[in-house]
Symmetry: C2
Subunit: 233 residues, 2 copies
């Protein structure tokens, strides 16, 4: 097997080494996140995490300084995905409702993966002062994105008059809760959930004068789709 490794990257042992390290670090995070979610942060011991990775506890300290740092990294990874989604939506343009729908879909999908769930199911307050402040600030930015799109939608007429703050709480709340009940391989797929939520949460907010007008742009016209038979299920 040493022959194989040499074959894979004989000219970049340095980079290879660093990449291997990053991969291991990531593997730790994946396993930790899974375990944190599975049994709770406190009940998930570093021994558990290490054992499931076929190593021992002290080995973890080659990659992280503390259990809390692992938690922070898990949150950071989830948060990064949320940030990316928001940045992409901002870049694409469109009216408020369109942006809001995209954000709902993206956020719903995030809530179906481990790192996303970490954001809503693990307790911030386990973090150090600084890490806590950082994570909370980022979460606040997510909330602000919802409010921003809603406010924009009200301004451009794609969303009915309402209090953006409350509306954002309603939407973000129902999305966050996905992280508490979603199970992989259960009745609904992540995509189905994202679609359903985007529909349910915006049909109450969308201005109903769309009929022939501008209507919602890009999103694969749900209004047009006539109930297709949901195969399986």
């Amino acid at each position: 097997m040493s022959a194989k490794r040499a074959q894979v990257s004989p000219w970049a042992p340095f980079e290879d080494r660093r990449r291997a390290r990053d991969e291991k670090k990531y593997a730790v995070l994946r396993m930790a996140a899974q375990l944190f979610l599975d049994v709770g942060y406190h009940r998930a011991t570093l021994n558990d995490v290490a054992t499931r990775l076929n190593i021992t506890k002290p080995a973890l300290y080659n990659y992280f300084r503390s259990k809390e740092e692992i938690l922070e990294e898990c949150c950071r990874l989830g948060q990064q995905m949320a940030d990316d989604a928001i940045a992409e939506i901002d870049q694409a343009g469109g009216d408020g409702l369109t942006k809001l729908r995209k954000l709902i879909r993206g956020y719903a999908l995030l809530m179906t993966i481990d790192f996303g769930m970490c954001l809503v199911r693990l307790d911030d307050r386990e973090l150090s002062e600084e890490a806590y402040a950082r994570v909370r600030a980022e979460k606040r930015q997510d909330d602000m994105a919802f409010r921003k799109y809603i406010a924009a939608g009200i301004a451009d007429g794609s969303i009915v008059e309402c209090d953006p703050k409350i509306a954002a709480f309603v939407i973000a709340g129902s999305l966050n809760w996905i992280g508490h009940w979603y199970r992989d391989g259960a009745q609904y797929s992540a995509q189905e959930i994202a679609d359903h939520f985007a529909n349910l949460l915006t049909t109450g907010l969308a201005a109903k004068r769309s009929r022939a007008g501008k209507s919602a742009g890009k999103i694969p016209a749900k209004r047009a789709t006539r109930r297709r038979r949901p195969e399986g299920n």
Copy 2:
């Protein structure tokens, strides 16, 4: 001062004694719930709870057998209020939408008080096997109440066609999240929140028959997603 106590209940020392005990027990629960929510279940020590009540830790064991039992009682009290609300709604009658609105308001209000917050912010899994099963069964009943009212509303025409299960997740989710952000004395009062949520969450579900025909989105559009992943990642 001893004269005063004698004055309060000299003829019912027996009952008085028992009531005093219940009051103390309740005081412990209130303080514990507050502390659990404030700093988290694990960081809240029984010493903290006791000290804030001007007693010491072992004294708590006159009223509870364990920390976990205190947690369970907190959940039970919150759950009781939810059950009462549902029972009252069931008794009053009305169409599905009316019942749903009542439940939304009641549940929103529950999420603004400590015992209600305990239901959504404290981790079930700290409980013993039996207590866990009991609490989860009760929570499931709450969820079923949402589905039941939604299904009834669809049947009687007061709510648009949609998947009751998903709709219940949306509504219950956004309500549960109130317990995570509501702060006493902040911008919105509990009543205002309850009203706003009832409006926002039902205007998207209420049949818009007053307008021309049935407008609001037929929800599903379950676009059959390719590849539902049956196995874990």
